[in-house]
């Protein structure tokens, strides 16, 4: 039972001693300040309630669930300590899903970060025609519903009558089942994921490019620097700080490919596209007897993995910056 007290506990603010705004207080002022604070807490109330119920409490609860044996149907939750974690870590399928998740990341993230960078540089050039049309076209897949795109892709990649098969036939390739064979399914879904969210990374880079003051370019041009020189000495150094934030955002995104995978391959064929999110889903919702304790333990471990990868990225960036500063 999620008692309201739990929520209150999670979101309660510690009453701090009121700080005097000015050294001398008139008697009416304190009352006014108290009334103002009441209004402030009233304004925060909706966020406290909703955020407490659906974000904070679930975070705490999922850690608790990972320590119990529980099938979700019955009320009895037996405390089993770290047994769920042992079971997850002993499951070869879990490690396989970790490997698949990281492989997916390695396929998707570089393509998105560097491909979008190249495109943003081109689209930012004042000499290129139709830039706003291109921006719209490349961004279009981003706004579409991933779970629906996943279904549509199943048909587009259909080996018998999909358009991709027809194109491959023109080039003399036989019928290829890109999503249906375990050797190609992961790479194919990676490419589709790149296509789907390429536009968002591109918009990030364009926003980064717009932070460079125009007169820098002007000054360099007056000094007689060529396009290559300008790119190397102005554009690149100015964009380096953004590389970290953009790759962290992109990596974070690659960990959450559930919608696409569930609707396109559901982890198959032969578990070849079973990323961790699908693995967790299988134990929590798709099994006849849900193992919620086991699934929660897997989810907590997944959260740790995401943190580790992002932290490693931040650390690597900081170290490389130090090295460059020393050089």
């Amino acid at each position: 039972m999620a008692s309201p007290s739990l929520i209150a506990e999670a979101t309660a603010t510690k009453p701090a001693p009121p700080r005097p705004a000015r050294p001398v207080k008139r008697p009416g002022q304190r009352a006014r300040e108290r009334r103002r604070n009441l209004w402030i807490y009233a304004f925060l109330l909706p966020t406290f309630v909703l955020y407490g119920m659906y974000t904070l409490y679930p975070m705490v609860a999922s850690y608790w669930y990972s320590l119990v044996e529980w099938n979700g149907f019955t009320a009895d939750q037996t405390f089993v300590g770290l047994a769920n974690y042992q079971a997850v870590l002993a499951d070869p399928m879990f490690w396989s899903s970790v490997r698949i998740t990281l492989l997916f990341l390695l396929i998707v993230a570089p393509l998105r970060v560097f491909g979008a960078f190249a495109l943003a540089i081109l689209l930012n050039s004042p000499r290129l025609p139709f830039t706003s049309f291109f921006r719209t076209a490349y961004f279009l897949p981003v706004v579409t519903t991933t779970a629906i795109v996943g279904v549509v892709m199943r048909f587009i990649l259909d080996p018998a009558s999909g358009p991709v098969a027809a194109v491959l036939q023109l080039f003399g390739a036989g019928p290829v089942d890109l999503l249906g064979s375990s050797s190609t399914a992961l790479v194919t879904s990676g490419v589709i994921y790149v296509w789907k969210f390429f536009g968002i990374t591109m918009i990030y880079w364009l926003a980064a490019l717009q932070t460079i003051p125009r007169d820098l370019f002007e000054a360099a041009r007056i000094d007689g620097a060529g396009a290559g020189k300008i790119f190397r000495h102005i554009t690149l150094p100015m964009l380096i700080p953004f590389l970290l934030i953009i790759s962290v955002l992109t990596i974070e995104d690659c960990f959450h490919a559930f919608d696409l995978m569930q609707s396109m391959t559901a982890g198959g064929p032969f578990f070849s596209t079973e990323i961790i999110e699908i693995y967790i889903y299988r134990f929590a919702f798709a099994a006849t007897i849900p193992q919620l304790g086991f699934a929660s333990a897997a989810a907590v471990l997944f959260g740790v993995l995401v943190l580790v990868v992002v932290a490693a990225q931040v650390w690597a960036t900081v170290v490389s910056r130090r090295l460059r500063a020393r050089a």
Binding site: W39, L44, F134, T145, I148, E252, I280, F302
Partner: protein, 287 residues
């Protein structure tokens, strides 16, 4: 004189030519980018036989409008679309209101506990959705909200939305102090100052937050999927699509029509509100 101009023009052409070639390459790439949607639109107006014949023709022989009526009535997309509209609009309203209120007090006032509140919000900035779903389902079940659209709406609106709160806070912080002083002189209280002066001024932020929330909610899949497991009448379009294909695996044109019905609203919104989409997303990097 004219010789000089002609030479100038030749030089301009020589300088512009690579850019035009590049534009042609990017144009071809852009076609590949939007092709799945074009294919879907064309498949939604073809007959099954025509699709299964394969080939790359994008123009249907005769327009099969009954695909749409099949998806709309038999495929239940009339219900799914209505659900999606209700859930999305309600979620957007709740999120905008609660983020504006919270952002206003966090951005403009110092009060006991304000630091702690911001700290907690920022700490949860990167919550993996995969594991909060189990407690959310359990909580909703106990509150009797699991088989209700209202439960789905609350769960969607109860997401962290930290970014939206921070965008509002930053915007309100930047408004001049004189506004409040003028309001107090006019005798306006806390609530009236906010609703009459601050809120109308924050329209650009409201547009951005509203649109991003709309996008996120309209495209949501995981939560609606879990909430409609035991009650198909609650399905949104993204969940309905999976069900439709599961039940009519050979009805490609119907599937394509359902896809067009589901994607059209969000694509149209994007077409008309492009600036806010791009600004909202770009804001994530700049901040």
């Amino acid at each position: 004189m004219s010789a000089v101009v002609a030479g100038d023009r030749r030089r301009t052409i020589r300088r512009r030519l690579p850019w035009w070639l590049l534009a042609v390459v990017l144009l071809a790439l852009a076609f590949v980018w939007v092709f799945p949607f074009i294919w879907m639109l064309s498949a939604s107006l073809k007959s099954s036989a025509e699709i299964f014949a394969g080939g790359l023709g994008l123009v249907p022989e005769t327009l099969q409008w009954e695909n749409y009526s099949r998806a709309w009535e038999d495929g239940n997309f009339r219900v799914y679309l209505l659900n999606t509209v209700i859930v999305t609009v309600a979620t957007v309203v709740i999120v905008v209101v609660r983020c504006a209120l919270a952002g206003y007090v966090l951005g403009r006032y110092k009060f006991p506990g304000s630091r702690l509140v911001i700290g907690i919000l920022v700490a949860t900035l990167f919550v993996p959705t995969g594991y909060t779903i189990i407690p959310i389902v359990k909580l909703s079940l106990e509150l009797g909200l699991l088989d209700q659209l209202s439960g789905m709406i609350l769960a969607l609106a109860g997401g962290a939305n930290v970014a939206s709160i921070l965008i509002y806070a930053g915007y309100f912080r930047g408004l001049p102090q004189e506004l409040e002083e003028a309001a107090i002189v006019d005798g306006a209280g806390f609530l009236r100052t906010f609703s009459r002066i601050m809120l109308p001024l924050s329209m650009p932020v409201t547009a951005t937050v509203g649109i991003l929330t709309f996008l996120f909610t309209w495209n949501a899949f995981f939560l609606p999927l879990v909430f409609s497991f035991s009650n198909p009448a609650l399905r949104t379009v993204s969940v309905g699509m999976q069900a439709f294909v599961g039940e009519n695996s050979t009805d490609w044109p119907g599937m394509a029509a359902a896809g067009v019905i589901s994607l059209l609203p969000i694509v149209l919104l994007f077409a008309f509100m492009q600036r806010y989409f791009v600004e909202g997303i770009a804001g994530a990097v700049k901040s």
